[in-house]
């Protein structure tokens, strides 16, 4: 049992990498939910992004186009969901679950010829001068640009929702689509864009898995990450910064327990693996108490279909 064997800078660096796909997928879902759409298909969109990103990455030989491809793949799949819930007015919960199953299946089909292939290498995006700081450099300044992008995306989402007029409209549609509609805001268009945005970010999260973090394509490789992203949105109380924090805590627990095990500490792994889910349940209990009721952040029209009354 020798704690000095744990390489703290690498530990911090890997927890950031582990959390990045979750942050991306959860931010996308947060926007969709803020507009009143509950999309349980995050897992399906992630795996779709993972496979389409991988295919495009391999075919073009460029990891960057692969990432773009993963966002497009996720967005395409989410457009199917958008059609079903916005135009056909289907139940969002059932449609989202179906989207996950569909996504897992079609990804397996598309990816079949691509198992056992190495994707193009992804250049890490070291920040000059800062990367040379001992310790801190490895921790924060030698990542690939997707990691920085996820941070910027979180800040941008927060600013967009809180300070921009478009963000306010999006939130008002999520709170009460009938009122927003009567004020002349475009409920359908806004929700459509939110779903597509959510799909693109979930796809990017999946692409990050298959192109950078693992990096290979295997069937079912997201292994439940989409569901954790969904839980993170609730855990965060629909706030981008709490979402960031939640994702890092989750990634931190994952990486820390691996490190503790490797130095031979006897810890209750089952309990630790359970921790993020336990935290989600606790968070749900806390925010549903009356004190938090008023500002818990759940949109009032979440999961409700909008039917235009003429």
């Amino acid at each position: 049992m020798d704690f000095s064997e744990i390489n703290i800078p690498i530990l911090i660096a890997s927890l950031i990498v582990t959390s990045t796909p979750l942050i991306l997928a959860a931010l996308g879902e947060l926007i969709a939910e803020k507009s009143g759409i509950l999309n349980l298909g995050v897992e399906g969109m992630m795996i779709m992004g993972a496979v389409s990103g991988f295919i495009i990455g391999v075919e073009t030989g460029s990891a960057f186009s692969g990432l773009i491809g993963s966002a497009v793949g996720g967005a395409l799949l989410s457009s199917l969901f958008a059609f079903i819930v916005l135009v056909m007015k289907a139940n969002q919960v059932a449609s989202g679950l179906a989207l996950t199953i569909f996504g897992l299946g079609i990804a397996a089909l598309l990816g079949h010829p691509y198992t056992g292939i190495a994707p193009p290498k992804f250049q890490s995006f070291s920040i000059p001068f800062l990367e040379d700081i001992p310790g801190l450099g490895v921790m924060f300044f030698q990542h690939d640009f997707v990691v920085y992008f996820s941070l910027i995306a979180a800040i941008a989402t927060w600013y967009f929702l809180k300070y921009s007029r478009k963000g306010l409209i999006l939130r008002s549609i999520g709170e009460n689509h009938d009122v927003a509609h009567s004020l002349g805001y475009k409920v359908m268009a806004t929700r459509f864009i939110s779903i597509i945005f959510g799909g693109a970010l979930a796809g990017l999260g999946g692409g990050y898995l298959s192109l950078v973090r693992v990096p290979q394509w295997t069937e079912g490789m997201t292994a439940g990450a989409g569901w954790i992203a969904l839980a993170l949105v609730v855990f965060s109380g629909w706030h981008p910064f709490r979402l960031l924090l939640g994702a890092y805590i989750f990634g931190g627990i994952t990486i820390l327990q691996l490190n503790l095990q490797a130095i031979g500490i006897n810890i209750n792994i089952a309990l630790l693996s359970m921790a993020p889910y336990l935290a989600t349940i606790l968070a749900l209990v806390i925010i549903s108490t009356s004190r938090f009721q008023r500002n818990k952040g759940a949109p009032k029209c979440l999961g409700v279909s909008f039917v235009k009354v003429t």
Binding site: G116, V214, G220, A225, Q261, A262, G264
Partner: protein
């Protein structure tokens, strides 16, 4: 609407046409993950295809992938039995109780359960002595490590996995007395991201050879990228890490599957049989050795494999103490099958505890 009706008619006609086609026997397989994993499930599917090929049109095989080790497994097997399966291969440890429950309901259906230990009149079990293969790769690992640290990514703390760690450790220690094992349990058979994280953690703590008892090929990819060595699990995984791949333990289910289906067809199949075969019977195959392994190490490794196959050697030959220092095997004594099948302790020298 008319078009929709037409489509439905065509689809149902096709479905009935399918039922009309009848084979002498229908054999079902259930897999814990996708057959595209290039690992555990892939090899079972290789076995299934061998059955298809061996009997031509006489045997029809069906399979269901991604079946969780829960009540779902019971549902899937019941469905298979109801739709006419005469024999079902359940290919993961956690299907044990579901198999017994379904077997009780369908006494005429023959069940084969991989790696379990409970049988019934119509349930037999089969498992491979993977630990024999681990003696071979453990030796290679002990010789190839420069940092004297071998990382081991393990799935669940069941006897099967513990046995593998012990066997690999004993062989590695014999090859290199300074060797040290670091074990990470990830409590899943198949999660590429988690497997990759565990491997990265082990590498960051100094391991330069990684062994695995989980199913995906993610660890091989990580090893290739980090410039360390790893071994193929269940299948040859060299395509995922041409430089990292030292050799592989390959699961050879095909001969067993063909033999058991044949027995079921000619009426000699028996329930309650517990098959436990190793390198000798071809159920465990040592893959191609990498050029990175020096010739003398290759020879030594193959000598171990041959010795085990012929029965002259045993992976667990005394003197061996348990982790707490208490004696287990006397000099020259080999482990009995009961202890092996229920193994729940580390041998002396391995650090850390087996999670409860």
């Amino acid at each position: 609407m008319k078009i929709l009706f037409k489509i439905i008619t065509i689809i149902s006609a096709l479905m009935f046409a399918n039922i009309g086609y009848s084979a002498d026997m229908k054999v079902g397989f259930i897999y814990i993950g996708p057959p595209g994993d290039h690992g555990w499930n892939y090899q079972h599917d290789v076995g299934r295809k061998a059955v298809d090929k061996a009997f031509g049109g006489k045997v029809e095989t069906v399979y269901q992938e991604n079946v969780p080790e829960s009540a779902d497994a019971e549902r899937v097997m019941t469905q298979m039995a109801l739709s006419g399966a005469d024999m079902i291969f359940a290919t993961s440890f956690g299907y044990m109780d579901p198999v017994l429950n379904v077997a009780k309901k369908f006494p005429k259906v023959k069940f084969e359960h991989a790696t379990g230990y409970k049988t019934a009149d119509n349930v037999s079990t089969y498992s491979a002595r993977f630990y024999e293969g681990r003696s071979v790769i453990g030796h290679v690992a002990g010789k190839m490590t420069k940092s004297n640290t071998i990382g081991y990514v393990a799935s669940f703390p069941i006897p099967e996995v513990v046995r593998g760690i012990n066997s690999a450790y004993i062989a590695a220690k014999k090859a290199n007395p300074n060797v040290e094992f670091k074990v990470i349990w990830i409590f899943t058979w198949y999660d590429p991201a988690k497997e990759a994280d565990a491997a990265k953690t082990l590498i960051s703590q100094g391991a330069d050879v990684i062994m695995q008892h989980v199913d995906s090929s993610a660890i091989m990819t990580v090893a290739e990228e980090a410039g360390v060595y790893a071994f193929g699990q269940a299948s040859d995984m060299s395509e995922f890490g041409p430089n990292a791949h030292l050799t592989a333990i390959i699961n050879g289910w095909a001969p067993y599957y063909v033999q058991r289906v044949k027995q079921a067809m000619d009426g000699t199949w028996k329930g309650g049989v517990q098959t436990f075969d190793g390198i000798g019977a071809g159920m465990v195959i040592i893959g191609k050795m990498s050029d990175k392994i020096p010739d003398d190490v290759k020879k030594e490794a193959m000598a171990i494999a041959d010795g085990i196959a012929s029965g002259n050697m045993h992976s667990f030959t005394g003197p061996i103490n348990k982790q707490d220092g208490s004696p287990w095997l006397k000099a020259g004594e080999t482990a009995d099958i009961g202890t092996l099948l229920g193994m729940n302790f580390y041998v002396e020298g391995i650090q850390g505890d087996i999670p409860k």
